[in-house]
């Protein structure tokens, strides 16, 4: 590799996970939550997002490319770790392992989810309430989605915690502890939003 790029790749990986990927995730979960108000509300919201100006530009530069980098570099990070929670069963060590495992689960989930929705849309399918209702009609797929959402939201919330450490925001043990509570609250809150939305399709 041309010189010492690792530091910048890691920082970029950390940044992209929050901005824009994390921001998009929150937005996506919130828009999906319209499904709890019925099919028409969801379809209106989905159509609004679909008809945003510069849609392809936004999709490529706000979602696809950052996500691709985060995913590919994340796989590398996950597979350079050697888990040792059986020997060192500390809370943060568990979170370290869960962050990497949920990262891989999330990647599998997102790839499948994008194939089922955005790629199908590119082939002419219409992304609407009915499409999702058909997907989660299958109990296996419903559970796949529930696990996928929980894993994604956990990865995001705990990733926020490590983002704060990696960029030098939370230095003291106390501040890191408080941010553990805050990010876990974010995990619970976003999980509720996501699970409510997916159950609205079921």
């Amino acid at each position: 590799m041309a010189g010492n790029r690792e530091f910048y790749y890691r920082r970029l990986h950390s940044l992209l996970g929050v901005i824009p990927v994390g921001v998009f995730l929150v937005q996506h979960l919130v828009v999906n939550h319209f499904a709890t108000r019925g099919p028409e509300a969801f379809n209106r919201a989905a159509a609004f997002m679909e008809n945003l100006p510069f849609r392809y530009f936004l999709e490529i530069f706000v979602i696809f490319l950052p996500l691709l980098f985060h995913a590919v570099y994340g796989i590398y990070i996950a597979f350079t770790a050697k888990f040792n929670t059986s020997q060192y069963g500390y809370f943060r060590n568990w979170m370290f392992m869960l962050q990497r495992i949920t990262g891989i689960i999330t990647l599998i989930f997102v790839v499948w989810h994008v194939y089922e929705t955005r790629v199908q849309a590119a082939f002419g399918a219409e992304v609407n309430y009915e499409m999702m209702a058909n997907i989660v009609n299958n109990p296996f797929m419903l559970w796949f989605y529930i696990i996928g959402i929980l894993s994604t939201v956990f990865h995001f919330a705990n990733g926020l915690w490590s983002f704060c450490v990696s960029w030098g925001l939370t230095v003291t043990p106390r501040s890191q502890q408080v941010f553990t509570y805050i990010t876990m609250l974010i995990f619970v809150a976003l999980s509720i939003v996501g699970i409510r939305a997916i159950l609205a399709f079921a």
Binding site: F7, I77, N93, S166, G168
Partner: protein, 253 residues
């Protein structure tokens, strides 16, 4: 002395750096106030394993015998620590001894910690004071700062934090928590701070600071109670600033 109390050991041994490890069991007579070192000395005095066979004495390293040199670090009952500070009365039996396999094993419990000393050289863990003439006294260090810096100076390069770290392994080139914390120590020193940017750039290289995955096993395992994760987070902040300085420009050295 009349009661025949014994201590059982299961020791992971290895004859050569490239040979396969194997376990050997030992039962030695108990004495009050024994530690793992004195038990290993007993085995060396009479190298007979639990089956009564004569064997080679177990090789290990030691030096200070008071937990300040780091030489006798090994994995005792699953946790890396110093053998000199591991009291037999406080250990569950059979006592399992293994080398810290994050490092190359030379023989039995002897490991090669050169990578840590190489890392200290790489991060410039010293304060340059030599000149062609007397440079005079350096700037004073505030007492408050000296106190927390003293905690960081307790590092004995024992290798326990590297052994506990899930990101220090054969698949990664992470230099580990100990040398990182030394960067914070030497950057805190008023004279050392004159080379702050050099040290920060060294840990911004491959295998440096960014490889930390925040499992925080290091701070839990450090026998000296060094706030390693606080050091790493502080350095994360310093390197963030350094990165912007280097890119956008700054009059700070």
């Amino acid at each position: 002395m009349s009661e025949n109390k014994t201590v059982r050991f299961i020791i992971t041994r290895q004859d050569r750096p490239d040979s396969a490890p194997y376990e050997e069991e030992f039962v030695i007579p108990y004495r009050p106030n024994m530690n793992v070192i004195s038990a290993l000395m007993e085995i060396r005095r009479n190298p007979v394993n639990a089956k009564g066979e004569k064997t080679t004495p177990v090789a290990w390293e030691m030096n200070c015998l008071e937990e300040v040199c780091g030489a006798c670090s090994m994995v005792i009952n699953g946790k890396p620590r110093q053998a000199c500070a591991a009291l037999i009365d406080k250990l569950e039996q059979p006592i399992r001894l293994e080398p810290m396999r994050t490092f190359p094993v030379i023989r039995d419990l002897v490991i090669d910690r050169s990578r840590m000393f190489d890392a200290l050289k790489r991060v410039k863990a010293w304060i340059p004071i030599d000149g062609t003439y007397d440079l005079g006294p350096g700037p004073r260090m505030p007492e408050r700062k000296r106190q927390w810096a003293y905690e960081l100076s307790k590092c004995m390069t024992c290798g326990v934090c590297l052994e506990a770290c899930p990101n220090v392994n054969s698949k990664s080139n992470f230099i580990g928590p100990a040398p990182l914390s030394q960067v914070r120590l030497f950057n805190a020193h008023p004279t050392g701070a004159m080379h702050k940017a050099e040290r920060l750039r060294a840990i911004m290289g491959d295998g440096g600071l960014a490889n930390c995955g925040n499992s925080q096993n290091c701070v839990q395992s450090c026998p000296k109670g060094i706030p390693l994760t606080t050091s790493i987070a502080a350095l994360n902040r310093d390197t963030t600033i350094q990165m912007f300085r280097d890119f956008f420009g700054s009059d700070e050295v």
